[in-house]
Symmetry: C2
Subunit: 349 residues, 2 copies
DNA sequence: TTGTAAGCGTTATCAC
DNA sequence: GTGATAACGCTTACAA
């Protein structure tokens, strides 16, 4: 393929002039500029960005390291980063660790994958990126991020308790608060909660949101209304059996999957969701639209998490001297109204 | 960051020797090798792949252009490419066109996005990739791929009727054939079909698969059992109304979404899916597991499409002189057995 | 076994 | 306005 030298020769000027013209630098004569641009078009010249990046210190490229691109949250986060980069004229290179595929599904309980992570960070440095966004596929405290790096690092969908890196996650508590408030607004007071896995930070935060919503609405918190689940559909079913015995009129399932278990149970009992029992889920997974009736739920701000991390990172890159204290940024979730909530008139009376 | 020159100086050898050692080339003394490797570790040296790629003609990097990374099929395809690249020591750079986000949902009906596509191809060439895989997000004849490119191009999830490029898609006909056969094996003869959108190539192929399955099993093809749909859940519901009047015992819905409409309808009628009516879908979307009872369906071989395209491309790169006739490769789909099919004993008698 | 030096395609400095 | 030329960090003949 034609290079700058050939363009120069063909148009009878020096490569310096060609370079200046390509990069819109002043100082080239109108006549020459026109001639050079024509040869560029004629020879279908494409600048070699590799050479360009070798020469230039700041190549306006960031690295994105994803734990697993095939996990549902990741593409949207990458898309958010992508948009912000496009807007600010940055490129990105993607390194996908494929942790789910390569290791076992619960890879984050072991640390055998740490080496893989460090390798990818090194690779990114080798590729001369100006900063790195690490995209987790399971929100948790990340201990695998190398700390002796000279370039800025931001974590998306995961965080760092040591506050060495900034991170962007969604606001579990606010999401659960909204979900609960919507049920309360519809007139419900006895709201069962299907809790997620025992140790989950998400579940802990969501419970606090639930409790705060009750408190703000002057509703007594009844601990009996909390049923332990494990994020699985089956556990949602089992929790429903217990709620069925109580005088619960609404259920907040801490994810859409467990909400599915609620549907299963009440389907069997021939009770109608949205008429006999109200329910709201969390995550806004594809399934939530598919349940019958469709499930009101909380949408995760994945795209925004991506955008925000990109903004943080690019700010750090462009203002290297501004000392920033790493922080955990929480992005609010959004309530998605569908048909699984009904107005509980009787209770209100 | 340390570069090769500093390593050389620090270990008291020339840069050529360092380079040889890094790249595992023979001819370096054991003593020197050890010393150099130590300095590399000590200075935490990371080779600059930009410089390396500038120098080396073949940089073992391919480009992946995705129409939209957030569309459900894309991440798995990329994952398949990723795996094959890993295995064969290739890197990839990703260019995401974001067509759904940037243009309207039916972007492929217009051609206003062509410029965007061509730009991305040019960008890939600028990045000196050795080949490009174009990942569509909607299987169709692609007319947007520039044809005057010097590097090999393969299309994944889309094809090129002009047979200028090789492409990899899944086998609609075989998938539909399997789906229908499973219903026939379960004893069903009167099998309704909910057809996809009118002009869809997918739908046409799937109908042929259905018909072939009937023929191979000596079952008369009753055109009345074909109901036009449009891929939407609502159209599945409407088709069910008609089947309800006919003596249909099983339904092949051409996608999982329309199958959802069937569930809706029979739920209202208080007929039980998997007991009163058998159904099989297509796509194996996340929802198919969530329906109650879970939906038997046809899984798209997305990962394999990715792997296969990567194999094709890398073969073309490594054997540039081997003349290949571009072909449309079809990967078989897989039947996923769930609970929406029952054995129709009565019919069999 | 090791070192010298050319060159990959750019950009940037500085002289003309 | 334009042109030499050094430099970016590396690989690779080829020389020593």
């Amino acid at each position: 393929m034609a290079n700058i030298k050939e363009i120069a020769k063909e148009s009878g000027v020096s490569i310096a002039t060609v370079s200046n013209i390509i990069n819109g630098k002043p100082g080239a004569g109108e006549e020459t500029r026109k001639r050079v641009l024509e040869t560029i078009k004629k020879l279908d010249y494409r600048p070699n960005v590799i050479a360009k990046n070798l020469k230039q210190k700041n190549n306006r490229t960031i690295g994105i390291i994803t734990e697993d691109l095939t996990v549902f949250n990741t593409p949207d986060i990458v898309d958010g980063i992508n948009e912000y980069c496009d807007e600010h004229n940055y490129e990105f290179v993607l390194g996908n660790l494929r942790l789910y595929k390569k290791y076992d599904e619960k890879f984050y309980h072991s640390d055998k994958y740490y080496g893989r992570v460090v390798d990818e960070f090194k690779m990114m440095e080798s590729k001369q990126v100006e900063g790195i966004i690490y995209v987790g596929c399971h929100s948790r405290n990340l201990e695998c991020i190398p700390s002796n790096f000279s370039i800025p690092i931001v974590i998306a969908y995961g965080f760092d308790n040591d506050k060495e890196f900034s991170s962007v996650i969604f606001n579990d508590e606010q999401g659960a608060y909204e979900a609960t408030c919507k049920l309360i607004e519809a007139g419900h007071q006895n709201i069962g909660v299907i809790y997620g896995a025992q140790q989950s930070i998400h579940a802990q935060q969501r419970l606090i949101g639930y409790q705060r919503a009750l408190y703000d609405n002057k509703i007594l918190f009844n601990p009996q209304f909390i049923q332990q689940g494990d994020w699985s559909r089956k556990s949602g079913y089992e929790a429903s059996e217990i709620f069925f015995e109580q005088n619960v009129t609404a259920i907040f399932a801490m994810n859409d999957l467990m909400a599915g278990g609620v549907y299963d149970f009440f389907y069997e009992k021939e009770h109608k969701i949205g008429t006999d029992i109200a329910i709201v889920g969390f995550d806004n997974r594809e399934v939530s639209k598919a349940y019958n009736p469709s499930l009101s739920t909380i949408e995760l701000p994945l795209f925004e998490i991506g955008r925000q991390s990109a903004k943080l990172l690019i700010d750090m890159i462009t203002q290297p001297h501004k000392e920033v204290n790493p922080e955990i940024y929480k992005i609010d979730c959004k309530f998605i109204e569908r048909k699984s909530i009904y107005k509980n008139i009787i209770d209100k009376v």
